[in-house]
Symmetry: C2
Subunit: 362 residues, 2 copies
C-alpha cells in the first residue's frame, strides 16, 4: 500500500489542503477557541490585512531589535487604551480608526515617535464577519497614515449578550526623542495654552449618530493622528512644558489635570475658543458643556510664553492644526483651578467633570 | 474682602479638599467618564494598589529608559491578551492573576525577561467595587510574584448588559537575552517534546466552577508564572528550538502549530502524558479530550535530543516543573501532523481543534 492509498495519510492530506479563509458570515464561539477556526480568522482577516513581517511570524509575541529603537531616542513610551465606542461606525470615523489614532496620539503627546501597536479584539458571537473586515481595514489604513505597524494581537469571542458587538484594545510603544521632556508637572505661570482647532466635534458626532436627537447636521468626528503635528511643534520648540490629547472629558478635564499636577491656575478666554455653531447648538439642547465633549484629534499644548507665537505658527502650517489658537494662560493663583473668562467679562470655575455626560464615547 | 470670604475661593477650597476615595459600592458610568469619579477610582484602587513610581506619574503613557532595557538583552518582546474568563473567581485563581500570568508567560516563552505590563479594564455598570478591589489586589500580588510592574492603564465602563462583569486586557514588554533564539519555525526531526506537568487542570477547574457538572473535586487551575522555569531551562540550554505556553486549545493546538510552522511531524506517547484521574473523568463525562483543555501554567519545550535529559532535570528542580516529562519526539513525516501513539499501540491523528470546546476559558 503506498502513502496515497493509506487512509490515515489521505486524511492528513485533506487537513493540509484546507484553505485558510473564513467562510462564515458571522463570528461564532469557535473563532475564539484557539483552534482551526480562530487560526483561519487570524490568517485571513488580521495577518492578511495588517501584512507585515513581524506579525506574519505568528508567534505569541512580537520581537523588535532594541538597537533599532535606541537609534531614535533614549526613552520608550508605553501606553494602552480599550475602545468601546457605540455605534461602531459614526460620521467621520469608526472604532477601528479610533483604536489606532487614540493610541498613536497618547504616544505622540509624550514627545514619542509612535512605532508599534498591538490589536486585541473582544467580539460578540454573531458579529458580522463583514463588519470585522471593514474595521480591520480601517485599522490598517489608519496605521499606514500614522506610520505605525500592528505587530501582535489577540482575539476573544463571548456569547451573544455578553458584550456589545466589538471592543478593541490597542497598546502602543514609541521612542521619545532625546532632550524632550513633556510632563503635566512642569507648567509655569505665564505659559500659554494652545489648542489645534474646534472642540467637541467627536462627542457631538457620536451623539447625533445615536439618533438621540432628531437633528441632521454635517458634524463629523475629528478623529485623526496627531504625531505629524507634534513633530512640527517639537521642531520649533523642543522645550514645550506639557501636552495632552483632549479625549474623554474634553479640554476641561485635561486643563484640570494640568492645574492640579503643577499646582497652578489656568484662565481660559471663552471668546477665543473655537467651537462650531452646530456643536454649541447640540450642547444647548442637551444641557452639555462643549468644554467637556470628547475630541479624538485635538491636543492642548502648554508653551513658555516666549515661544507661543512660533509654536502657533508651526501648528497653523500643519494640516492637523490649521485652526490652532491661543485660548488661555497659566496663572499663579488660584492654584489647582481652571477659570473661564466669559464673553460677558464674568469669571466661572471650570471644574472636573462630575458624573458622566456621554458613556461609550471612545 | 479676604480670600477666605470670597464665595468663588470658598468653592475652590471645597473642590481641593475632596478626598480621592471611592465611596460607591458599585461601578457607575461616571467611573468611565474621564472626570472626577474616574480619577478617584484610578487614584484609590489602581495607583493605590499597583503603587510604583512610573504609574504614579499619571501621564497617559509610561516612560522607560532604553538604556535600562538594553542592559538586559538585545531584543524587545511585545505581547497582548484580553481576558474574558467566566466566572471571575474559580478554584485556584481568578481573572486578575490570570491576566498577569498569561501575559508574563507569553513573554517568557520567547526567552524574554518580562518587565512591564499595562492594565486596561472594561467594566460593566453595576460591578461591585469590592470585586474590582479583589481583582486588582490579585493582579498586584501576581505581578510581584512574577517580578513585573504595571506601569500604565485604562478604564472603560459600559451600560449594564453591554459586557459581562469585567474584561481585562494586559499588554507586556520584556527583553530577550542575547543569543537566545526561540521560534516555532526551527524545530527538527529528532527533537524531544517536554512538558512541565499535568495537563488540563485549568480547563477542568473552570468547567467545574461553572457548576455544569454536579461534581465535587479538588481540581484547581494551574495558573502560575513560568518565567522562573524558563530561566532555569535557558540556563542549561540556551539553544532550545521552540517553546510555547499551552493555553486556549491546549497542548494539541501548540503542537499542531509547531508541526505546521516547521513542516515536521510530532509523535506523542499517550502513556507518558500526565493527566489527573479526575480531569480524565471530567473529560469522559463531557466527551472532551484533555489534550485540548486549556492550561495556564504549562509550557511545551522542543529541545535538541542531546539536551533533553539536562533540560528535563533542570525543569524538575524548579517548583513550576516538578512533574516535567518527555512526552514525545519530532519526526520527519508525516510533515505538519501530530500523531498520538495510544496506550494500546494504535496511532491516531491529533488534529487542530475544530469548533470550540469551552468558550471564555481565559
Amino acid at each position: 500500500m503506498t502513502n496515497n492509498q493509506n487512509p490515515l495519510f489521505q486524511k492528513i492530506e485533506k487537513i493540509r489542503r484546507r484553505p485558510n479563509k473564513v467562510k462564515d458570515t458571522a463570528i461564532t464561539l469557535a473563532h475564539g477557541s484557539g483552534g482551526k477556526a480562530m487560526r483561519d480568522l487570524i490568517d485571513d482577516i488580521f495577518v492578511g490585512s495588517f501584512d507585515n513581517p513581524i506579525l506574519s511570524q505568528l508567534e505569541d509575541q512580537a520581537t523588535i531589535p532594541l538597537a533599532q529603537l535606541i537609534s531614535q531616542g533614549d526613552r520608550l513610551a508605553f501606553t494602552t487604551d480599550s475602545y468601546v465606542v457605540d455605534p461602531l461606525f459614526f460620521p467621520g470615523s469608526n472604532i477601528g480608526e479610533l483604536a489606532i489614532n487614540g493610541t498613536v496620539n497618547d504616544l505622540a503627546v509624550s514627545g514619542a515617535k509612535p512605532l508599534y501597536l498591538t490589536c486585541s479584539m473582544i467580539m460578540e458571537e454573531g458579529l458580522p464577519v463583514e463588519t470585522l473586515r471593514q474595521v480591520v481595514l480601517s485599522m490598517k489604513t489608519a496605521a499606514d497614515a500614522a506610520g505605525v505597524k500592528i505587530v501582535t494581537g489577540d482575539t476573544k469571542v463571548v456569547h451573544r449578550g455578553s458584550a456589545d458587538k466589538l471592543f478593541i484594545n490597542t497598546a502602543g510603544i514609541g521612542v521619545i526623542r532625546e532632550g524632550v521632556s513633556i510632563s503635566a508637572h512642569q507648567i509655569q505661570p505665564g505659559d500659554a495654552v494652545i489648542i489645534n482647532g474646534q472642540l467637541g466635534n467627536h462627542g457631538a458626532a457620536i451623539l447625533i449618530a445615536r439618533g438621540e436627537l432628531a437633528l441632521s447636521t454635517d458634524i463629523k468626528s475629528d478623529c485623526q493622528p496627531l504625531n505629524g503635528l507634534v513633530d512640527a511643534i517639537l521642531e520649533v520648540c523642543p522645550q514645550i512644558h506639557a501636552m495632552r490629547d483632549a479625549t474623554r472629558g474634553g479640554v476641561a478635564t485635561v486643563l484640570n489635570e494640568f492645574a492640579q499636577s503643577s499646582d497652578v491656575g489656568i484662565r481660559l478666554d471663552e471668546a477665543s475658543i473655537p467651537i462650531r455653531e452646530e456643536v454649541n447648538g447640540v450642547c444647548e439642547i442637551l444641557g452639555l458643556d462643549p468644554l467637556y465633549l470628547a475630541n479624538e484629534g485635538k491636543l492642548v499644548v502648554i508653551v513658555p510664553r516666549s515661544h507661543a507665537e512660533s509654536v502657533l505658527s508651526a501648528m497653523k502650517s500643519h494640516p492637523a492644526g490649521e485652526d490652532s489658537c491661543i485660548v488661555g494662560e497659566v496663572i499663579d493663583s488660584p492654584a489647582g483651578v481652571v477659570l473661564l473668562q466669559t464673553a460677558f467679562g464674568a469669571e466661572r470655575i471650570v471644574d472636573m467633570l462630575v458624573g458622566d455626560q456621554l458613556p461609550r464615547i471612545c
